[in-house]
């Protein structure tokens, strides 16, 4: 699968899961995974999912504006750079965000998130 198609597929899968069933994101991280969420650093699938499921909103909807990807090196990794909007239920205005994923291949032929950095884009 070509890298652009792969990254778009990943992004769609990630945010669909996030918006529908945040706990299921655990499958996309491993013990070595790192998340920096608005400057807070978290390591490992369990802690990362605990952080994401404890975010102060029940429902949200991500809408993606741009997806850029590049191969990261000989190990087969992919860097994916996303920008978009995050609509929280009951809020009038959507939040703008940027997020970077570094995906690494698994032995089963899929990808997991090794590095994840999320930032809101304030005006």
């Amino acid at each position: 699968m070509d890298p652009d198609a792969l990254s778009k597929a990943f992004v769609e899968h990630y945010y669909t899961l996030f918006d529908a069933n945040r706990g299921a994101l655990a499958n996309l991280y491993q013990e070595t995974s790192m998340l920096t969420f608005e400057g807070q650093k978290i390591q490992g699938s369990q802690s990362i999912v605990a952080k994401l499921t404890s975010l102060p909103f029940q429902q949200c909807q991500h809408s993606i504006t741009t997806v850029d990807c590049q191969p990261s090196g000989p190990a087969g990794g992919m860097l994916v750079f996303v920008s978009g909007n995050l609509q929280l239920a009951g809020e009038q205005h959507a939040l703008k965000f940027s997020q970077m994923f570094h995906l690494m291949p698994t032995q089963q032929g899929s990808f997991y998130v090794l590095n994840d950095i999320f930032r809101l884009n304030y005006a």
Partner: protein
């Protein structure tokens, strides 16, 4: 390892944007033939093409103001991903442009880092 990633990230960001704002042509020293840049969706490969693109941007002067820098180690071999947000001021323009940029730094045998991956996006709206 994480603290080192943060230190390298900050030092690199400082150096990169200082060069960009004062001597854009010398940015070529930070890229190699294997480097990739995605600039507002346009893909460029190799230090020469990347440097050409940056030198041809439609402004002579600019100033980057950095708001956030987040870094993480990307591999056991010493790579670092750096995620930056900030604003770009062009002379004569009243409003700053907001941007996000991601670098993947790879260590060189000489003990420095080069940019293997570079993705730049303006943040509109």
């Amino acid at each position: 390892m994480e603290e080192q990633a943060e230190m390298v990230g900050r030092a690199f960001v400082d150096h990169y944007y200082h060069l960009f704002d004062t001597d854009r042509a010398s940015l070529s020293s930070l890229y190699q033939p294997s480097s990739m840049l995605s600039f507002e969706g346009q893909k460029l490969f190799g230090a020469n093409d990347i440097s050409s693109k940056l030198n041809q941007l439609p402004f002579d002067q600019c100033k980057h103001l950095i708001s956030t820098i987040d870094s993480q180690p990307s591999s056991p071999s010493g790579g670092i991903v750096v995620f930056v947000s900030g604003s770009l001021q062009l002379p004569g323009e009243e409003y700053h442009l907001r941007f996000s940029q991601m670098f993947h730094l790879i260590p060189t045998p000489e003990g420095t880092f080069f940019v293997q991956n570079d993705i730049f996006r303006l943040n509109y709206g």
